[in-house]
């Protein structure tokens, strides 16, 4: 019998939807499918789209997908919206802005609830992206939960991260704060027909000028992953700060768009492709892939270790240790030692 995973590889869309659910729910069947599909991954360009709620991420994804379709690239969209912290329910509304993509079998849109994750993505997002990758989607756009200042998980997952801003959302101090702008490979000023777009653009550009053009380094284990791209003395702002490949450093370009009428979309799509080329030329593509797979592996390991631990330590023993911590007769770190050594007091 042909497995569900093999059916996905043959391009069956019903099976694809099914496998995505199995993986999202972290079932044994889902994990088995991932094992079959994993060797087929590593081909797609993963494009993250993040930014504050209401900046136009979904509309932008809609337009970008149409643009990539004109180049005949198969496009998948994973759109994450928040789950309620109270009921666990969710209202996933990103499709409302993506109606134009309906009726095209070269596009597959999947909505996802964050299910309690706080980094702007859901726990299973990375695995779902792998499924799309294996299924032959060439561009996979990942739209995060409407993000504030620190939902930066997307930068770990995506090859190219777009940070979407809109006029009127903050001044130049917001722009130099740490966090979301730091992860941008491309900064998009959407709703560029709104008043104040010049100021927003100026604030973002001057932020880029303040920054030393340091190669991007992910902090990891409290340490860093050495970037391959070093040095480079490109001066930002020059030539509209457009992404350059002539030096070995990438200066995030600031691109104006109007997602509702398509202004700036072709240019934005071009910059995404250009960034992909830059990553491959500079060797950063491999560095990012390694960092991503390492953190995915670590997350999987962490949950496997937790499961192993829970299987080994009976619940009432765990409860007794919690009691002791509650009575202050044991500190949490003592408790951890006791639990790991299997010899609670």
């Amino acid at each position: 019998m042909i497995s569900l995973a093999e059916t996905v590889l043959r391009g069956d869309r019903l099976a694809l939807g099914r496998v995505l659910t199995l993986v999202e729910n972290d079932t044994a069947d889902g994990r088995a499918a991932l094992e079959v599909l994993f060797p087929h991954t590593g081909q797609a360009h993963l494009v993250g789209v993040t930014g504050a709620p209401g900046t136009g991420k979904s509309s932008l994804v809609n337009r970008l997908a149409l643009q990539f379709r004109t180049q005949n690239k198969r496009v998948a969209v994973v759109a994450v919206d928040p789950s309620s912290p109270f009921t666990g329910g969710a209202l996933l509304g990103d499709r409302v802005r993506m109606k134009d993509l309906s009726g095209d079998t070269g596009v597959f849109i999947r909505s996802m609830a964050s299910r309690g994750s706080i980094g702007g993505l859901a726990q299973a997002t990375a695995s779902m992206v792998q499924i799309f990758d294996a299924a032959g989607y060439e561009i996979i756009m990942i739209e995060t939960v409407g993000a504030g200042q620190s939902e930066v998980d997307i930068a770990r997952l995506a090859h190219t991260t777009l940070v979407v801003e809109a006029p009127g959302l903050g001044d130049d101090i917001q722009a130099i704060k740490a966090g979301i702008l730091e992860i941008a490979d491309i900064i998009v000023v959407n709703k560029a027909d709104r008043p104040g777009v010049e100021n927003t653009e100026k604030a973002l550009k001057s932020m880029l000028e303040l920054a030393h053009p340091a190669p991007r380094v992910f902090s990891h284990h409290g340490g860093t992953i050495p970037p391959t791209a070093r040095g480079g003395s490109a001066s930002p702002g020059e030539g509209q700060g457009a992404g350059k490949t002539d030096t070995n450093i990438w200066i995030p370009p600031v691109q104006r768009t109007i997602a509702t009428d398509g202004t700036g979309i072709a240019e934005l799509a071009q910059q995404i492709v250009k960034h992909g080329e830059y990553l491959r030329l500079s060797g950063d593509w491999t560095v990012r892939e390694r960092a991503r797979l390492e953190s995915e592996l670590e997350a999987a390991l962490r949950s496997a270790l937790m499961n192993q631990f829970h299987a080994r330590v009976p619940e009432e023993q765990f409860g007794r240790v919690v009691d002791q911590v509650l009575e202050r007769s044991m500190s949490p770190s003592e408790a951890v030692r006791a639990l790991l050594n299997g010899r609670p007091k």
Binding site: R18, T21, N25, S83, T87, G89, R95, V96, S102, G103
Partner: protein, 138 residues
């Protein structure tokens, strides 16, 4: 207090709430979507003016357990069978389809015969809808 969310895998009921046809009034659809959300379901909302093809495609991509159709235009006898056929053609025979809106009593038996799982008119209680959906996907 915010209840801590379990990180354990769990099966969530996924519902597509869709508005087929041309009527532009989606207050009812939004009320129901919100109620289902509050009942812990994951609700995908499509927005207005969807064709049956768009709805079937969204149901396929989202792998939903339930499709909820909001129809106020009176076109339910044209739209509902078309959507049922498309779902079937796509292999989604397990999807339960519910209708909310203005449906005259005499149409109800024919719709139920087509396999519609539930029909709700004005004044229906969202609690009943939630319960019926939970029972239907069990």
């Amino acid at each position: 207090m915010v209840k801590e969310q379990s990180t354990l895998p769990e099966k969530k009921i996924r519902v597509l709430v869709a508005k087929p046809g041309l009527d532009g009034h989606d207050r009812g659809a939004k009320v129901v979507a919100r109620a289902l959300r509050d009942a812990g379901m994951e609700v995908i909302y499509t927005g207005l003016r969807q064709t049956p093809e768009m709805i079937a495609e969204a149901a396929l991509q989202e792998d939903v357990d339930v499709v909820g159709l909001s129809i106020l235009s009176g076109a339910h006898m044209a739209l509902a069978p078309r959507i049922m056929d498309l779902l079937k053609a796509n292999g989604q025979t397990n999807v339960k389809v519910f209708i909310g809106g203005i449906v005259p009593d005499e149409d109800i038996p024919r719709l139920m015969e087509m396999g519609i799982a539930g029909i709700y008119g004005p004044g229906a209680s969202t609690e009943d809808i939630v319960k019926d959906i939970q029972n239907a996907v069990k």
